[in-house]
Amino acid sequence: MSCMAQQTYVSSRAAVPNLEFRPKGRGIVPRGLTFAAVLIILLMLAIIMGNILVGGMGTISWEFLTHPPEQGMKAGGVFPAIFGTVALVILMVIAVVPIGVFTAIYLQEYTSPTSWTTRLIRVAINNLAGVPSIVFGLFGLGFFIAFVGGGIDTLFFPEEGPVWGQPAIIWASLTLALLTLPVVIVSTEEALRTIPRELREGSYALGGTRLQTIWRIIIPQALPGILTGSILAVSRGAGEVAPIMFTGAAYYLPYLPGKLNDQFMELGYHIYIMATQSPDIEATKPILYGTVLVLLLLTFSLNSVAILIRSRMRRSRVGAQ
């Protein structure tokens, strides 16, 4: 910080207002107003959480977590939806983590931050993070299902009906992988930046090649960051509904997805259909609240773990310096 101070005086000239400061006043009004904003946010959070907790607590039981829906979703549990969600994010992680980590390594270790390729890739990542999730859904349908899946079908299964050119867990997870790619990249990059240069130089001095250095020194060091990124990606992916609506999520399946081209049930989608299409909304309400609570607990616990790892990582960096 202090080393930058000298330069900033020059550059931020415009930002220092030419004002006479009145010495009076303790800023109660701005302090109060901004604090009110904080209070409202906390209050809304408390209301939402409280509502869902109260509504869903009574429903959650071992039976609820391990049984499929019954009687047109008026009874039973959400096991297939939990299973589908987990299977979905596992496939997604398999696809997204290597690519995300490699991209981060490329950006941090291979190119200078000012080169045009880096800039271009960075712009792409930032924009990918901002593409509306429903557009990912459109893309998944147009590219993965119609183009890739349809292509495989015409090549390998010209006689049969659609085998791959239809909504399936593999297409949904690949769509989600693209959606969560920026999360993994950003998180890994942050971790890579914290690795001291001496480590790399030490490795090179001992005769390690760049790839050896990356594989044996850098990736192990960046592991917490990679882990954080993966967990955040999972938490994000588990909650997204719009991209999977057309690429693989099913209203109801009597079996668990066992093949890559099966459809699947998913918690978020299950919430959506139960809230809007269940046969009897009043009767499903407890189950609906229970499902919401399960999804929230899943995403929150994943997030807390990610935050914990990250803060430990940051602390250890501070300690090292």
């Binding site: 047109g72 495989i152 390998f156 049969e160 009906g161 659609p162 085998v163 791959w164 050119g165 239809q166 909504p167 480590l199 030490g202 490795s203 001992l206 005769g207 390690g208 050896q212 594989w215 044996r216 020194i217 099913a250 209203y251 109801y252 399946l253 009597p254 079996y255 093949k259 890559l260 081209n261 099966d262 459809q263 259909i273 809230a275 809007t276 299409q277 269940s278 046969p279 009897d280 909304i281 009043e282 009767a283």
Partner: protein
């Protein structure tokens, strides 16, 4: 720690562990490749049923029971609306399309162009009920009144014998067969008022009307809880009739319809067994137990595939 790690990086060890890592990676990659290939080749086919939200519960129940009796058969059921199902049939992405309406002429033409031969089988009956809030004093509505209400010509309950409050319209998304059927039967194909709140399922409509004392909605009678039915008359001179199993299967209730399964060509094998089972007494009893209206026995028998 750091030192230890660097010291251990002498070249021999690098070579050994690297080659081990390489082998592992190679194995992993080969494995993944093999799994992908195997996945592509082995992937079998299940029976897929897709379409009408009105029928999805019945389809699901039938699938459940059929699979229980015939282990080894896998049926996957999804909803989304009749339009969704028909689109899937035309796109070749479903075996059975559930629909609460017939295909439109345009869709038949499209099917022809795509080389699909739709075969229609009635599997159950359904009545479209008009839902009112329990607090609403209006008891009966004529087709003319309903048309006025849903096209936006009548906007106040007072005009149809109720209190002086605005009518709040609830309807289905435009992919639903219910939407299309109601439009054709009651609205004479005119457009719904733009003020109609379109909700993604009949249950949402029922739920909305049950909470909104000025609301009106429509949908299959199997769904109604917490709302009241309006008695409906077709012409002003007719007597108003409440929807019920009897009035619908006798054909007295004016807004009733067949619910269909569409196939691509004449079903054979497992598909044929499934549809004949659904039309059997056992299948139709299940339909009745799920609050659908079973087909009259002769019609069910006549519909079976030989």
């Amino acid at each position: 720690m750091l030192q230890a790690r660097l010291i251990s990086t002498d070249s021999r060890q690098t070579y050994n562990s690297n080659s081990k890592g390489y082998k592992m990676k190679k194995m992993l990659l080969t494995g993944m490749f093999l799994i992908a290939i195997a996945g592509i080749v082995v992937a079998g086919r299940n029976i897929t049923i897709k379409g009408s939200d009105t029928l999805v519960r019945l389809g699901q129940r039938w699938a459940e029971e059929y699979m229980k009796q015939n282990p080894g058969v896998v049926i996957q059921v999804s909803g989304g609306g009749s339009g969704t199902g028909i689109a899937a049939l035309l796109n070749g992405t479903t075996d059975i399309c559930e629909a609460s309406r017939d295909m439109k002429e345009k869709e038949y033409k499209l099917a022809e162009r795509k080389g699909i031969e739709p075969l229609r089988v009635s599997v159950a009956l359904d009545g479209i009920a008009v839902f009112l809030n329990k607090g609403n004093s209006v008891k009966e509505l004529s087709f003319a009144q309903l048309k006025g209400i849903y096209t936006g010509a009548i906007t106040n309950w007072k005009e149809v014998g109720g209190t002086d409050t605005r009518i709040i319209l609830y309807g289905r998304e435009n992919n639903s067969g219910t939407y299309a059927f109601f439009k054709k039967q009651v609205l004479n194909k005119e457009d719904y008022s733009e003020y109609t709140q379109t909700l993604p399922g009949t249950a949402s409509v029922v739920n909305a009307v049950s909470k909104d004392k000025n609301g009106i909605g429509y949908g299959g009678i199997a769904w109604a809880t917490g709302v009241r039915f309006a008695a409906v008359r077709k012409a002003d001179a007719d007597s108003a009739i409440l929807p019920s199993v009897e009035s619908i299967s006798s054909g007295d209730y004016p807004i009733s319809r067949d619910l269909y399964w569409f196939f691509n060509g004449k079903p054979t094998g497992e598909l044929k067994t499934l549809v004949n089972w659904a039309l059997s007494e056992e299948g139709q009893e299940i339909a009745e137990a799920m609050d659908y209206i079973p087909l009259p026995k002769e019609r069910a028998k006549a519909g079976m595939i030989d």
